[in-house]
Symmetry: C2
Subunit: 153 residues, 2 copies
Amino acid sequence: MEHRSQMGGNAFLLAQIGAHAAAAFRERVATLDLTPAQAGLLRMLAADPGLSQQAYARRLGTPPSRFVTMVDTLEERGLVERRRGEPDRRSYALHLTEAGTQLFRRVGAVGRAHEDDLCAALDDDERKALHEMLSRIAAQQMLTPGVHPGYRG
Amino acid sequence: MEHRSQMGGNAFLLAQIGAHAAAAFRERVATLDLTPAQAGLLRMLAADPGLSQQAYARRLGTPPSRFVTMVDTLEERGLVERRRGEPDRRSYALHLTEAGTQLFRRVGAVGRAHEDDLCAALDDDERKALHEMLSRIAAQQMLTPGVHPGYRG
DNA sequence: TATTGTTATACTCTATAACTATA
DNA sequence: TATAGTTATAGAGTATAACAATA
């Protein structure tokens, strides 16, 4: 009967540190005038461009109505481009503009700094060991790589 | 230049697993008709009873107006009792009732099941190693033990 | 006049559902 | 009639600020 199991268990620490990590990342990308959700969309567009809005919305788990306003904002800022679908003219294919590609590179730099700061208490071997354990937990808990609901806003 | 650093880094995994852990705990305590915030308050009252509402609200980081409605709900359910402050009759001292104490024990059982399920992919030594690393990260990032903003609702 | 607790109001965020245009 | 995208509306959750009682 360990008293600490209530408050200092791994589950609680993971939730606490996870919330902290998400909040810290939010502040960092805010310096680029982006929300975490917008940064995530830029990443998807960089990795897998040209799909329809609904395809991206499904991946992110956001309803279409919300996705539209996200794209609106990024399009107004000249980061994302809507191109009419070729055979099916109801849909739009989304692409990063040159400015969007450049901003995405800066998001990458922000992400690396974030990672490094969060793991400052661990040396290289420990970071690898942590990564291995977290990956196993994520796999066992059936979490999809690349998407987490903390990416909101 | 590791490609994976963007998506599968420790920071991202921690945020993803943390959000998952918080959501899973929310579902579990919902079986006791509690939100995570209410469960956290029961725990505070069990550990440190008799303080004023403002004292607890400050600890939880919630504004007083929100705290009042939380206490209202728990008081209506007979889990928490408000006693007029002794010298200063503006304040109320909060205490768990007998029913509140009993329900809090069930929260503890739920928490242990939650911990065990989340760590199912790790053996005992690994759980200890994980706990040690997470504790060091939390300390280095200056996180207060016992409070995380994911405890909302 | 300051402080504890309370109530009222306004604001943000999100999802549901109605709408339009193409098919 | 069905589907991609859009717009309008309503709901939940939250915080800010006004209020009442006691000090």
